[in-house]
């Protein structure tokens, strides 16, 4: 698969412009009840060593048995990345000694991964997009956790996470700047969350990225890369790339060369620092795990999973634009997070006339609701205004029962007090007055009481706005603005 790489932001050095070349390995913890090769629970946050089977602890004579659910999740993810699914793949042992790896090897996939090449489209600022190639996705075991702060002389080992399934998703070196890198992880995370194959919780470590960075003169040969390990925040990824690229440029421009090495990002200092050099790199002695047969499934198994895939962000965005007339920007905002899209679609489901009010609903979700949620530090999951309530508010505007202005007051009431918007409008007399007779009486009264203003308005029609304000004030904002305008124009003869 060839992807046309989107040029990125070049970095100015003393010797001219530099291009950054980035490839990423994202480790995504698979959403499954039990581990990749054992029946132990994958639940986060249990007592140390409470989710450990004999297999996870690598007791003598224990054997791994593949968890089919994890395979299914990997295949579904591959499909979501528009990737080639390999009907036959092989588990290999990656041998290394460390206390977080009881077997003394990690079961991974080396030469034959379960998913091959694919691609995803990522959204950049200003409505631009970039296509990033996927090299492969393979399944492997997560390691345990070392606790260094429990004893002054010893480290403790917690094997709860040990053996949990990870998908390592490797991108092609198609990423050209920090913005693209951040957009890539954002989009990847969104796809995983839509699929339900990884919860994408970077704080809990469910999604971590190793970032390979090198620099070169635009179009020149690839430079030596450094790998920045274990990034667990999208913002840090951006910062790390910016720092690392500048570091490498400075070294080269000072006449130095880049050492291929593994580096760590220190978020406090905003710097990367060396972790180990190429010479210190492990020889993992990969070989096929003789305890496991090759992983084989049929095309019809893949087809079945494909048929049952949920709608993914790109498809959903296209549908919102096409069938509801949303702007690409609004559609993009709504689909970026699975929860937002679900919320919006629940609002849609509560509308009596989707064609009429769908776009209005999008405005309300994005501007009023998201705006307010952001301001108050809420997530969509704990929004005080439910999708059903918002649908009711939007419906009331759409059918002309309340004006947009009143709707904002209503939203405020629902946000702080709760309640059924329709009943609130009824109970608090917020209904828009569309009774022309009633509005006309108000208009007549104001005209009669203000002959000087009438004269001014006749001379200068823009001043009619003063009358509109007065009418709205007297009607408590409930008069239909269109009706007020029409009446005033007629009565004032402007």
């Amino acid at each position: 698969m060839t992807v046309s790489v989107k040029p990125g932001k070049l970095i100015k050095g003393q010797t001219g412009d530099w291009e950054v070349v980035i490839g990423m390995e994202v480790h995504a913890q698979v959403t499954s009840k039990s581990k990749l090769f054992s029946g132990a629970s994958t639940e986060f946050g249990g007592e140390p060593n409470s989710h450990v089977s004999l297999v996870d602890a690598a007791m003598p004579g224990m054997l791994p048995v593949i968890n089919e659910e994890c395979v299914k999740q990997a295949v579904r993810t591959g499909l979501g990345l528009n990737a080639k699914i390999n009907l036959r793949s092989v588990f290999d042992r990656k041998n290394y000694f460390y206390a977080d790896s009881p077997q003394g090897y990690q079961i991974s996939q080396y030469k034959s991964p379960v998913v091959g090449e694919g691609e995803i489209v990522v959204e950049l600022d200003g409505g631009r997009t970039a296509t990033i190639g996927i090299e492969r996705l393979h399944l492997e075991q997560d390691a345990g956790k070392l606790l260094h702060d429990q004893s002054p002389t010893m480290s403790y080992v917690d094997l709860n996470r040990c053996g949990v399934a990870l998908m390592e998703i490797v991108s092609k070196p198609d990423i050209r700047d920090a913005e693209q890198a951040k957009a890539y992880v954002t989009k990847l995370r969104s796809i995983l969350r839509y699929l339900g194959t990884c919860d994408g919780d970077m704080e809990k470590g469910s999604l971590r990225a190793d970032v390979n960075v090198s620099v070169r003169k635009p179009g020149g040969p690839l430079g030596t890369r450094c790998e920045i390990k274990n990034m667990n925040s999208i913002n840090f990824i951006g910062q790390a790339i910016e720092y690392e690229a500048r570091r490498q440029i400075e070294i080269i421009e000072d006449g130095g060369t880049i050492d291929q090495e593994t580096r760590l990002f220190d978020p406090n200092k905003g710097e990367t620092r060396s972790m180990r050099s190429k010479e210190e790199a492990h020889d993992y002695r990969y070989f096929p795990d003789p305890d496991l047969l090759p992983l084989e499934f049929t095309q019809s198994y893949v087809d079945e999973l494909k048929a049952k895939l949920p709608e993914l962000p790109d498809q959903k965005k296209a549908r919102f634009i096409e069938s509801l007339g949303l702007s690409p920007y609004d559609a993009g905002v709504l689909v970026a997070e699975r929860e937002s899209a679900v919320f919006y679609e629940t609002v849609l489901a509560g509308l009596a006339d989707k064609a009429r009010d769908g776009k209005l609903a999008a405005n309300w979700v994005i501007n009023e609701l998201f705006g307010r949620l952001n301001k108050e530090g809420h997530g969509i999951g704990d929004s005080p205004v439910s999708a059903a309530q918002l649908a009711a508010i939007v419906g009331l505007i759409g059918e002309g029962t309340i004006s947009g202005k009143i709707a904002k007051d209503l939203f405020e009431i629902v946000w702080t007090e709760g309640g059924d918007p329709r009943e609130l409008v009824e109970a608090r007399g917020m209904k828009q007055v569309t009774d022309l007779g009633a509005i006309e009486k108000v208009v007549d009264d104001i005209i009669a009481a203000n002959p000087d203003k009438v004269a001014q308005a006749k001379a200068k029609p823009q001043l009619a706005g003063w009358f509109v304000g007065q009418v709205m004030k007297q009607s408590g904002g409930k008069a239909n603005p269109q009706a007020v305008n029409d009446l005033l124009k007629a009565k004032l003869g402007i």
């Binding site: 004999l54 004579g61 054997l63 070989f287």
Partner: protein, 491 residues
Amino acid sequence: MTDLTSLTIAEAREGLASKSFTSLELTDAHLAAIEAARSLNAFVLETPDQARAMARAVDAKIAKGEGGPLAGIPLGIKDLFATRDVRTTACSKILGNFVPPYESTVTSQLWRDGAVMLGKLNNDEFAMGSSNETSCFGPVVNPWRREGSNTTLVPGGSSGGSASAVAALLCMGATATDTGGSIRQPAAFTATVGVKPTYGRCSRWGIVAFASSLDQAGPIARTVRDSAILMRSMAGHDPKDTTSVDIGVPDYEAAIGKSVKGMKIGIPKEYRLDGMPAEIEKLWSEGAAWLKAAGAELVEVSLPHTKYALPAYYIVAPAEASSNLARYDGVRYGLRVPARSIGELYENTRAEGFGDEVRRRVMIGTYVLSAGYYDAYYLRAQKVRTLIKKDFEDCFAKGISAILTPATPSAAFGVGEKGGADPVEMYLNDIFTVTVNMAGLPGIAVPAGKDAQGLPLGLQLIGRPFDEETLFSLGEVVEQAAGRFTPPRWW
């Protein structure tokens, strides 16, 4: 009644069923024999209390007519099999006093069928060896001696304890494992019957791993029929072992006595080694003649890649072992030699815990998997393995039912006699047996005669995948013709 230990499993089964004796009596007789034979060093752990408790329980069941196929039969268990609440060490210092909280699938099936555990049997450390001299509990002594000699002989390995105990009438049968010949070679050295089943026939779950793609559990017994009886209980699909195969377990015993008339038996010309002792040559011809007399047709066959099997085996097996043994690190169980850093903890523990042969194989295995050497060694060995497998497939495709070979290139040798200067000298013991593991086929070693010094020699029959039944039929023909051999008691 005086000599319960000399009964076969089949005979004991009848005696128990007809209430001629109880399992407790049978068990006690064996416990006494074990106690009297400690000089053989066959058992590394005797479990008399557990044995008697199991015997009593099974006696109660037999009384109610509920005994299983192995009801009341006392067995020995190779120390490679994890036994719940009973120390399991693989005869390595590194496992220390490890007591597993689980039971291997194979042994749990034996207990399910009513067998009684007498204790744990000695073996080469992690099953790495062909003489049972690498055990951290010291060498096992072969109950057989050269005529007129007091020289202590090895029982072969790695299942030396199993073979020695069965031959010396310390248990009626024993579990064993075979990675390159570890069941068949000791069986041949002790005049017992050893079966290495098809790879995938018995579950590997709960057996301390040596080389996962080659390891297979099987029985050692005193007769072909007894080995068939044990096989039926040991075999079977286990969802906990992905490499175990989900096909039904036949009544292996029913194959005993079945006519072998018309079967084509292959005699592989590549197994006729230069400098092979005349006695082995003679034994092989005799075996062929017995099968012919029983109606089988002898056919010379070719297994052209045989000569590459041993070198390839000594790449594949150590490679897998180097990785399988990485878990013995002093962190979670077994031996821990204290240190100031994790790296030092590994080094100290593994240096102290592993014996020379294990260390040698871990190093060989690490080397052949290293970057830059992988293709030249491991990958090439795997290619050889494919060719060896194909040799056999081609042979079976021509209508060959089984292949007859010697089991070992010599009879038992003295303790300390081989491999001291050159480990390859020891490795050559597996020359006739490794091909079978490399191809994943079933093989049986049957006692067939004695050498000039009165030591037992065995013949090997190699079968088609999952056709152990034919091996039992043919094995019994050899057994009938050769007779049974029991070592004179000197211990």
